[in-house]
């Protein structure tokens, strides 16, 4: 399996450079953590991979397709193969949990009937199975807004699984969770990585968690890669630099 290739990737917002000439290869089947301070470009990088943000320059390639060139249907297919979960979970609070999970199937198998709230029995069973993996099946008819933060994030993971993704992008998935729920969410991500072989690219704030769960760490600072290696190669010195700790 070929890695995800990022070549000379650049992103400028007006005058500020968010991502400056990044070259990376992300192997499939691994958990890759992206670490760095707020504003170091982690989120921008992740969002460029599924094209929620358009890069200014450079290219991203996956399995022979230049991701940065595709449009329309092909782009939507890519986005469904490359699922994403968010810091704020981004569920539809007023809809029940099951529908929230079913929404994940829309990019993969869209039919006009979906617009009237119809989903096939097969997809419904699929959604329930995914919820059951995270022990949330009994919540499936509850409004998602009534769930705790940790539960909402795991519903979001179940939704992502509905896309049958090859890659899961996780943008600060545990930043708004307490330690106990953070662990649960990270364990679930580890589970889908080990059991389903889904590649995970994950932005993380906490160095401790990044070291514990990731196979590889990439340190970003001011839009550039300043560290790339195994978790045990990340020394205290480099970490200090990465987070600018000398200033405090």
């Amino acid at each position: 399996m070929k890695p995800l290739r990022i070549k000379n990737l650049k992103k400028k917002f007006k005058d500020t450079v968010a991502i400056n000439n990044i070259n990376l290869e992300v192997e499939q089947g691994k958990i890759t953590g992206i670490i760095g301070r707020s504003g170091s470009g982690k989120s921008t990088l992740l969002r460029m991979i599924n094209r929620l943000i358009e890069p200014t320059e450079g290219s991203i390639e996956f399995n022979g397709i230049i991701i940065t060139d595709i449009r329309g249907k092909a782009l939507r297919r890519w986005r469904s193969e490359c699922a994403m979960i968010f810091q704020q979970f981004n569920l539809v609070d007023r809809l029940d949990v099951l529908t929230n999970v079913l929404i994940g199937s829309l990019g993969r198998s869209y039919s006009f009937l979906n617009l009237f709230g119809y989903f096939s029995k097969e997809e419904k069973i699929n959604a329930l199975k995914n919820l059951d993996r995270f022990e949330l099946a009994e919540k499936s008819l509850q409004r998602s807004g009534t769930l705790s933060g940790g539960q909402q994030q795991r519903v979001a993971i179940a939704r992502a699984l509905m896309q049958k993704p090859k890659i899961l992008l996780a943008d600060e998935p545990i930043s708004s969770l307490d330690p106990k729920n953070s662990k649960k969410v990270m364990d679930d991500m580890l589970k889908i990585n080990r059991e389903d072989g889904i590649t995970i690219i994950c932005n993380l704030h906490s160095l401790e968690i990044a070291k514990k769960y990731c196979d590889r760490l990439i340190g970003l600072s001011e839009g550039e890669v300043v560290f790339d290696g195994k978790p045990n190669q990340l020394t205290a010195d480099i970490a200090k630099k990465l987070y600018d700790l000398d200033d405090e």
Partner: protein
């Protein structure tokens, strides 16, 4: 020391705020005086005209006598005599009600479809956004009565002209209100739909609509109340309903019938307002549970 300076700063801020409030009041006062000069409000004219208002009101009041109150429609002084034409009124009132209902349903459906294109955050392209906004402004800017006159001229006298006029106006005003609701919605669920490969339609249906629906229904019910009132007025230009009959009895000086119809209209408007107010309150309450 620090405390004193912060106190001064606070006083400063309060002083500034008072100054602006006072200037605003003075400005509004000057504005009111100027505009009354321009539109030529004359208090003495107003007072002189007042008795005539009283004359008209006393003329349209029914001649009801307490001992004949419940006699038949042939006896002057009874309620039945006053409302001898009730079956016709009710039929026309029902027509008015249906005009408003139909215009609200069709108008808000059109408004719903257009509003997604007319909201900055959901419109798929800026040219579409710009042109739909202008179209909605036109529909909203032209008074219903003008549309009604136009369509009475085109389609002839009857309720259809009134329905089309109200539908256009409803589309214009609800389209704008709906699109503003969309613009205030939370973008995150829509972002999630987009990130999972959903198309624009599914972004709207699943990401946006569940958030905004209670608000939209509430606005549509409010519009229904407004349309009930509007549809009586539209009758004056021949656009059907009870208004047309009211115009007739006013012109022919059938004084007692004027009061009979006006009372009926007021009762209808009040009961619709109460009912829709109750519904609106419950929709938001249920949705917030």
């Amino acid at each position: 020391m620090n405390k004193i300076t912060s106190d001064n700063h606070y006083k400063n801020l309060i002083g500034k705020k008072r100054f602006w409030n006072l200037s605003l009041i003075i400005l509004i006062f000057i504005g009111v005086i100027l505009s009354s000069k321009i539109i030529d409000i004359n208090v003495s004219n107003l007072l002189n005209g007042m008795p005539r208002l009283g004359d008209y009101v006393s003329q349209i009041l029914p001649s009801i006598e307490s001992n004949k109150l419940f006699l038949g429609s042939k006896d002057q002084g009874s309620i039945a005599y006053w409302y001898f034409n009730l079956p016709k009124y009710l039929k026309l009132l029902f027509e008015t009600f249906n005009m408003a209902l139909l215009a609200t349903i069709v108008g808000s459906t059109l408004a719903l479809f257009l509003s997604f294109l007319a909201a900055k955050n959901t419109s798929p392209n800026s040219l579409l956004f710009f042109s739909i906004r202008r179209i909605l402004e036109f529909f909203r800017g032209v008074p219903e009565i003008i549309f009604a006159i136009l369509f009475v001229w085109v389609l002839g006298i009857g309720p259809l002209a009134g329905i089309i006029a109200m539908t256009l106006h409803t589309t214009g005003s609800l389209g704008k209100l709906f699109s503003e609701v969309h613009e205030n919605s939370n973008n995150k669920p829509i972002e999630a739909l987009k990130a999972s490969g959903g198309n624009w339609l599914s972004e709207m249906k699943f990401g946006l609509l569940p958030q905004v629906l209670p608000n939209l229904i509430s606005y549509a019910l409010l519009r229904f109340e407004i349309n009930i009132r509007a549809s009586t007025i539209l009758g004056f230009v021949g656009a059907g309903g009870i208004g047309q009959e009211l115009y007739l009895v006013i012109n022919f000086n059938y004084y007692e019938e004027v009061s009979a119809i006006i009372l009926l209209i007021i009762l209808t408007v009040i009961s619709i307002d109460l009912l829709s107010g109750y519904l609106r309150k419950n929709i938001t309450r249920i949705e917030n549970d």
